[in-house]
């Protein structure tokens, strides 16, 4: 929290709203393709135009992810990434003076094995602002969500097309920071079928909450970002960025001098995309 009692996430969404635009939320996998390159990418994201950073915590069995994010996690694990190293990455990011909010995104098991209390204390200490844990629905809030809120770490929930009006209040109840609307039923990296339905869904969620609503799953280009930005408070891009990492690697799968810029150049384009549409503040 800052002196105003607001979190970095709240401040950032409010700042974007004052600019009359949606926030750009970028996802990269921690440790992909290796610790050093991944740290360099992370540290370059704010200047490239990322408003909020989702940092993927690699897991061997990412049940809700499509192939691009699966492969990114496998590259990171092969290079020796662990949750401890991911927290260390965030610590050095904050030491470098960045105040861009960071949300760790992943699956519960690495956190559970680390130990919930120890993890939250360390996350809070190094400057993690929020958590998205894909396999913890509201029914399991006692596991991590409630302890996180108590520890001052936001818990961001996913709402999906299957989350109907009856269920929405339950999903939103202990959500903080922002709501992540998953634009389709499916794994990460698919294609958005119906942009109109996304706008309707965001409007529906906003009837139930004052939190900002970010939309993700399937956003790949600046044009996609601009389209989503019209109706949402944030646009999440992930698979397209980790694909940029993959395509920049050499034949042995190692980082090249192009790897960091391959990611940041797309982030810059996306940042222009969200700035190209004005929305009502």
């Amino acid at each position: 929290m800052t002196e105003t009692g607001q979190t970095r996430i709240q401040n950032r969404f409010q700042a974007c709203a004052r600019e009359g635009r949606a926030a750009l939320v970028t996802f990269v996998t921690a440790g992909d393709p290796d610790f050093e390159t991944s740290s360099a990418i992370l540290n370059a994201l704010p200047a490239a135009g990322a408003d909020v950073i989702e940092l993927g915590v690699p897991f061997t069995d990412p049940m809700a992810d499509g192939v691009p994010v699966q492969l990114a996690g496998q590259r990171a694990l092969k290079a020796g990434q662990t949750l401890r190293k991911t927290l260390a990455m965030v610590e050095s990011f904050r030491r470098a003076g960045h105040d861009t909010p960071i949300v760790l995104m992943g699956y519960y098991n690495p956190i559970y094995v680390y130990g919930v209390e120890a993890f939250l204390a360390e996350a809070r200490r190094v400057g993690v602002d929020g958590l998205i844990v894909v396999d913890l629905p509201p029914e399991e809030d006692a596991e991590l969500c409630l302890p996180a809120l108590k520890a001052g770490v936001s818990f961001i929930r996913l709402a999906t097309p299957t989350t109907d009006d009856k269920r929405l209040p339950k999903v939103l109840q202990n959500t903080s920071g922002f709501v992540y609307y998953v634009s389709m039923t499916g794994v990460t990296g698919g294609a958005i079928a119906d942009y109109g339905a996304v706008g309707d869904a965001v409007a529906r969620i906003k009837r139930h909450t004052d939190l900002p609503v970010a939309v993700g799953f399937g956003v790949k280009t600046a044009a996609d970002a601009a389209t989503i930005a019209k109706g949402a408070d944030g646009v999440v891009v992930g698979s397209a960025l980790v694909e940029r990492v993959r395509l920049s690697l050499d034949a042995e799968g190692k980082a090249t001098e192009k790897t960091v810029s391959a990611v940041t150049s797309l982030v810059s384009e996306l940042a222009q995309g969200v700035r190209s549409v004005a929305k009502a503040a």
Binding site: D61, M63, N109, Y114, D135, P137, L158, G186, G190
Partner: protein, 405 residues
């Protein structure tokens, strides 16, 4: 972990949150949560509906061929020189294993729910074959996810599924075995939520699957009680079954959990041996974690990354175990042992030659421990082994191993 105190009954789980003590739960993506709640409701409604039970009864009798015999294995008993060994002949079921008991229940439920597209994961292929069979019987679309490694080592079952009209999708991600097949099935489900019923093959996954699959498999233990009563006029003294996810074991054990006189043993796959680290024994060599919708004992590293399981048997090659087994292990009601690849191979050959029954490599793990336990027991000790599947599917693999020696 501290062992919780003994409950009044071992048969009351799970609680309303799908927990067996610490284990179980509903650790799934939000997209799936409404479906899992819908499934729970539909299952509860079906359980209360006599017409559903009548349909199950008909199917089990005339299509599956139940009851399966409880067979006194005279020559095995002589060989071991101790306990009277009975085999519960689940390998005689239609499709050749216990898997069909559960699939029938789930497919009838899917029909009630109006779902026309069925997906399943499979390891050895026995669950895939059972699912493909019932989908053929009821005219439903069937997609089976199977690790690419398992597709290669269980070729006969792949062909069977295809003959039955199912689409077999080889899974190339991760370790290309059962856990990856389950990941891929979950990815399919999350994508095709409106049309699709996920037919899980074991007592794992998010609530209500562990309880539901157990209920369907409990026919094994219920029949065993009656049949042993008829044969010997009393309850058995011990039960033994192999465990991957643990559905055949749970089905045999559950009706006996509150009978204190009945000793119960589960046998995990020890692969090359527990000390080698190359095994599939989650309880013996793992610790509690969260995977595939439930908390249970898992094989993993210090960072919570899931480790590869190793077993000669594709059906046991899974780094987790059903949550109710984790709980029964914790409270000490069931003793969990393990058997190596080598011990299973020996038992496979022994039972084939002595009884004229070629067991599945999975079931051979249980039989391997019988070889050790039976001789320690008195001659009036009644021991029931779940012969969960037949070994036809394993013959090419076993022939190759034996030829290479």
């Amino acid at each position: 972990m501290n062992a919780p105190s003994s409950p009044n009954s071992y048969r009351n789980g799970p609680d309303e949150n799908g927990r067996f003590g610490l284990f179980g739960g509903r650790f799934v993506a939000e997209t799936l949560m409404p479906l899992i709640l819908e499934l729970e409701q539909a299952y509860n409604a079906a359980k209360a509906d006599p017409s559903y039970h009548a349909e199950m009864g008909e199917g089990l009798k005339h299509y599956v061929g139940r009851p399966s015999p409880l067979y006194f294995a005279e020559r095995l008993t002589e060989q071991f020189g101790g306990a009277k060994v009975y085999l519960k002949r689940e390998e005689l079921n239609h499709t050749g294993s216990h898997k069909v008991n559960n699939v029938l229940g789930q497919i009838l439920l899917a029909r009630r729910m109006g779902k026309k597209r069925i997906i399943a994961e499979t390891g050895a292929g026995q669950h895939g074959v059972a699912t493909a069979t019932l989908c053929a019987r009821y005219g439903l679309e069937c997609i089976v996810y199977m690790g690419a490694v398992d597709v290669a080592r269980q070729a006969p079952n792949v062909f069977r599924m295809q003959m039955l009209g199912a689409k077999v999708v080889p899974v190339e991600s991760g370790t290309k075995t059962l856990k990856d097949a389950m990941n891929e099935a979950l990815r399919d489900w999350v994508t095709n939520v409106a049309t699709t019923f996920y037919c899980i093959g074991t007592v794992a996954g998010p609530h209500p699957y562990p309880a539901m699959v157990r209920d369907f498999q409990s026919i094994i233990g219920k029949e065993t009680r009656e049949q042993m009563q008829e044969a010997e006029g009393r309850l058995p003294d011990s039960l033994i079954a192999c465990i991957g996810g643990g559905s055949n074991a749970m089905g045999l054990f559950h009706p006996f959990l509150d009978d204190a006189s009945v000793e119960i043993f589960g046998v995990e796959a020890a692969g090359h041996g527990i000390p080698s680290g190359l095994h599939a024994a989650s309880l013996t060599g793992g610790k509690p974690g969260v995977l595939h919708g439930n908390r249970t004992f898992l094989l993993m590293d210090d960072d919570g990354q899931i480790k590869d399981a190793h077993s000669i048997s594709a059906g046991l090659d899974y780094p987790g175990i059903g949550p109710e087994h984790s709980w029964l292990h914790d409270v000490g009601r069931v003793k969990y042992l393990s058997a190596t690849d080598e011990e299973a191979l020996e038992a496979f050959q022994l039972i084939s030659r002595l009884e004229g029954i070629i067991p599945a490599l999975e079931s051979a793990h249980a039989l391997a421990r019988v070889a050790e336990l039976a001789p320690q027991k008195p001659k009036d000790h009644l021991m029931v082994v779940n012969l969960s599947g037949r070994g036809d599917k394993d013959i090419p693999q076993v022939a190759e191993i034996l030829a290479s020696r």
